[in-house]
Symmetry: C3
Subunit: 139 residues, 3 copies
């Protein structure tokens, strides 16, 4: 059983979903582990991770709209307002989605459904560089 | 350390929660792994996984009602409408819950609380067959 | 590859977020595993786990307020009311957040971002003792 650690950096320019499936698969393919667990963590609390449909971009648009409506950027309803009107909503959206995803690797292939992609969900308005830790354990 | 892969297929007939705890435990019991990690992934983006109370069926009913009210089936508020009025809400509900659950096995027993059960949360109206990948790693 | 199991008990006195980061790190530091996976499960369905900002206590306050507004304690809208007005909302809030978190350990350090802390999110009003199972697998 071996373990390999890796970081993927993603640049985001505003709210929305950023597909990193190919970057993760490309890295997994280069490792000598055929079967194992891949643990992905986002090291931030104002952006999050979800597995979502990779076919119709409208799905990504609708997801972003829904979360913006559910968690309004309205400083009047929050105490934590010093980091901008989008910061507290970002923390809430992160809590409503995920900070980490654990996937399985079988015969060097990431076990995802046909229509599943891996997305970083950026909740902040300004540009950010986000770090996703990848940890592969297997043999 | 060994690894075993397995798939459970669940037939769903409409929205709601489907308990698969017994199927997972029954499979775990047949394996030669005493201690380890069980990673369960649903290979779809319009149904999801949650751990919930297994005692009162009213809890399952109320959960389903809450999510239907929170994420309305109303084509006017979504761009992604070609796959039916329940499809975009299904993607959103999946994002609000989970696509995967990671559990621990100790002395061949799935570590769940007394009142915890494993549920597939179906968000589509029509009948579906859902695939849940099970990946056990341990010794 | 070794496996170690542990339980952390947390006493809660009402709704809100309880930081257990230090307890988890302190336990991890005492183990002989340098690199591995840490799987944390809460063995209850009316309290949950989230990774959140550890800097400004206002964030924790706003999170709690948001979830209380999103999931009202109003017996009229639920069928499951026998365990108190806060019980069904607690199950829903658990479904909206997480029952388990999987983290990576690298060089004996828990891989968390600078501003990330581990929180138990208590959704019940009265005092409870909550059990968090910790399962470390690695070498």
């Amino acid at each position: 059983m071996e373990q390999i650690f890796h970081e993927i950096k993603l640049n985001t320019n505003g709210q929305g979903l950023y597909d990193f499936t190919d970057q993760t698969i490309s890295w997994v393919n280069k490792q000598k582990i055929n079967n194992g667990i891949l643990n992905i963590n986002i090291l931030h609390t104002s952006a999050s991770l979800i597995i979502q449909e990779n076919a119709d971009p409208d799905v990504l648009h609708d997801l972003n709209c829904f979360f913006n409506k559910l968690v309004p950027m309205d400083n009047k309803i929050y105490q934590h307002t010093t980091e901008g009107k989008d910061d507290m909503p970002a923390h809430i959206k992160s809590a409503l989605t995920n900070s980490q995803i654990t996937l399985s690797i079988k015969n060097k292939k990431l076990m995802l459904g046909t229509w599943q992609g891996l997305y970083l969900f950026e909740h902040r308005i300004e540009n950010h560089t986000r770090t996703l830790s990848h940890h592969l354990i297997g043999d």
